[in-house]
């Protein structure tokens, strides 16, 4: 079993309960630690547990209640975010925060306190969680909310599944005017142009995300395409020509080892840049195609071959963003084969959880194919991140050092204290938590 990047496999007992009674049986029969897993879209080692019991929650995916007056949806942890939107967007409601893929479970979204392309305006997923029913290693359920055991609630949001198993949760959906998004794109030739453009739009655009050509160097460093999105108002739906929903394709097999991936990506990046004319482009497309570009190509992690890939994502405070991003991009573009995909987004405010990733700043995500020297590259990226006070995203991480974790997540001691209270025996663990020594800070 491994994360989406498929770099650090480990062996665990896996069960996939179909009914709640089976979930309780799996907890009671667990050995060597316990961890819930959702869709397995964390890139690194966050949702795996060597020698322990991993509970795949994807079949406990039932909707329990929906109140159209408040928009609050109650559902089990295994429900996929894409399925929620598919069901509720036709009824005029949508999840306020979704990541680049719809294949993320509600439990996973809470555990990683995920963000989307609208962080400046909407914040993180955790802000819309009304309450959580958390299952402990003893099989008892705790009802957590900002009013009831706020400490445990704040530890569970962004807590990477270490506080227990989310059984069900209440999520506030928001009204959406239509299932379409009006998307504007601009081509930008270097990092400074990109950052200036982002600064100009971040307070007004609902959705914004920049695709960066991670292989570009020198004067082209940081060039890319800035994409802005707005929901199409209901009364304008008929006025735009709407692109047909993208057909989903799958990657049928792993690319062989000798495949010239970097050359292919370089070519793709060139074409991708050229696709957007100098004057920018405008189109209207189905909501899910804009929000979940990663879902257009199923199993795309196979493109990286058997060796897999890692993603390095960190958020840097606005003041230090320009030099920090430049340093990160320079470092990775000097390495081989470099970052085959780079995504830059802005974040508006801190998350609600003790270990929430979000904070105001610029977030850069780099997809890096795994090679023998990748650990050294990741260590260097971590050093750069630490130097500019940046924070690495645990949902993507597979290489952060314990010292790095402690420096980047200032509330780690408070978090460990909650773990000590909720789970004194330390049953909930993950490969990542063991690597980072999350529990060692317990009082």
């Amino acid at each position: 079993m491994s994360g989406f990047g498929r770099t650090h496999p480990s062996l665990a007992h896996v069960s996939r309960p179909q009914r709640r009674a089976q979930l309780l049986e799996a907890i009671a029969g667990s050995e060597g630690g316990l961890l819930a897993r959702g869709c397995g879209r964390a890139y690194g080692d966050a949702a795996q547990l060597d020698g322990g019991t991993v509970i795949d929650m994807t079949r406990l995916d039932r909707l329990l209640d929906f109140d159209p007056s408040s928009g609050v949806l109650v559902c089990e942890a295994g429900v996929r975010l894409g399925d929620i939107d598919a069901l509720f967007v036709p009824r005029g409601f949508a999840l306020p925060v979704v990541p680049g893929t719809g294949q993320v479970s509600v439990g996973g979204a809470i555990a990683a306190d995920i963000h989307g392309k609208n962080h400046d305006s909407a914040g993180s997923f955790g802000e819309y969680v009304e309450w959580i029913d958390l299952l402990g290693g003893d099989g008892a359920v705790r009802h957590l909310s900002p009013q009831q055991d706020a400490e445990a609630f704040a530890a569970t949001i962004g807590g990477m599944g270490l506080t227990g198993i989310v059984l069900q949760a209440a999520i506030r959906l928001v009204p959406v005017p239509s299932p379409f998004i009006h998307c504007r794109e601009r081509r930008l030739t270097d990092l400074d142009a990109m950052l200036t453009a982002i600064a100009g739009i971040r307070d007004s655009a609902t959705y914004s995300v920049a695709w960066i050509d991670g292989l570009a160097r020198g004067k082209n460093l940081g060039r890319g395409i800035l994409q802005l999105g707005e929901a199409v108002p209901a009364e304008l739906v008929g006025k735009y020509k709407i692109r047909r929903p993208a057909r989903a394709h799958r990657v049928p097999f792993e690319l062989p080892r000798g495949f010239p991936l970097k050359t292919a990506v370089r070519l793709y990046n060139k074409l991708h840049m050229a696709r957007v004319p100098a004057g920018g482009s405008v189109r209207t497309l189905p909501r899910q195609d804009f929000l979940h570009p990663l879902d257009g190509l199923g199993d795309w992690n196979r493109l990286y071959g058997r060796r897999g890939f890692v993603q390095f994502q960190c958020v840097i405070a606005d003041e230090l963003a320009q030099p920090g991003l430049r340093k990160l991009l320079e470092t990775v573009s000097r390495s081989r084969p470099g970052a085959l995909l780079a995504v830059l987004k802005t974040m508006g405010r801190s998350g609600r959880g003790m270990l929430s990733f979000a904070r105001r700043g610029h977030s850069l995500a780099l997809d890096i194919p795994w090679r023998r020297h990748t650990p050294e590259l990741l260590a260097e990226l971590e050093r750069i991140a630490l130097d500019c006070g940046a924070r690495v995203y645990l949902a993507k991480d597979s290489a952060l050092s314990p010292e790095g974790f402690a420096a980047m997540y200032p509330e780690h001691e408070r978090f460990a204290a909650v773990l000590q209270r909720l789970d004194p025996a330390g049953r909930f663990q993950s490969d990542q938590a063991r690597r980072l020594g999350v529990r060692t800070y317990a009082p």
Binding site: S15, R19, R20, R62, L63, L64
Partner: protein, 270 residues
Amino acid sequence: MSDEPSLVPADAPSEAPAAAPAAALDDAWVIFGASSGIARAFMRIAAQHGKPLVLAGRDVEDLAIDGRDLVLRGSPAVRTLTFDADAPASFAALTAMIDTALPQPFNVLLAFAVLPKPQDIVADPDLARRVVAINAGAPLALMQHLAPLLQRRGGGRLVVLGSVAGDRVRPGNPVYGASKMALHGFVQALAPGLARSGVGVTLVKPGPVDTPMTFGRATALRPASAEDCAAAIWRAAQKGRRVVYFPALLRWVMLAVRLLPDFMLRRLAK
């Protein structure tokens, strides 16, 4: 676990309209083995098409959760029903209850079976008898009860989950294959009589599907998704197909396997 069976409304979420039960249960689907992987995916499709549902299974507490889910997905009404394939004595009462609750023609999906590991059957030969009792004995008895009722209603459809393993029983898991073969034979013989009364019969023969039954097992083919399988069953039921393989390609594979002389199959099975 053979409590008095009871037909209870699944907890209605706040959005659910308070509908009149009799009218709401028109063209309902009665699902036996409603907690199974394929059944759950099938129920969701039926709910999306606005069909009422009766969920029959052992864990009614958990089925009530499915009931809330299905109402939110579009089903006008969902009931749960305690059903234990291991308690055939309760089948008559179950049938009587369905008779009262569903005055209109209705549809049935039989989706319960057990698939023990072959080595477990070797270790405990009595398990062989119990597997046949649940996979063949129970559905046969249930169909004996349900067939006259379906005929009286003069419509609806009976969908039975068989298996490609029952087309030609392989040495790998002989008891399971034999139980499914018995099921196939019975359904084939039952279908013409029901058809004369306007009741359609669909026999489904899936290959490996990613459900709790196959989770963590080594299978000959990569398991298909339960959602895809359920969608294929729904389409087949709508079209009135008599036999449906899933994936569809298996129809020709199994035809070849059935036609193969025994001595050749023996070589292949090695």
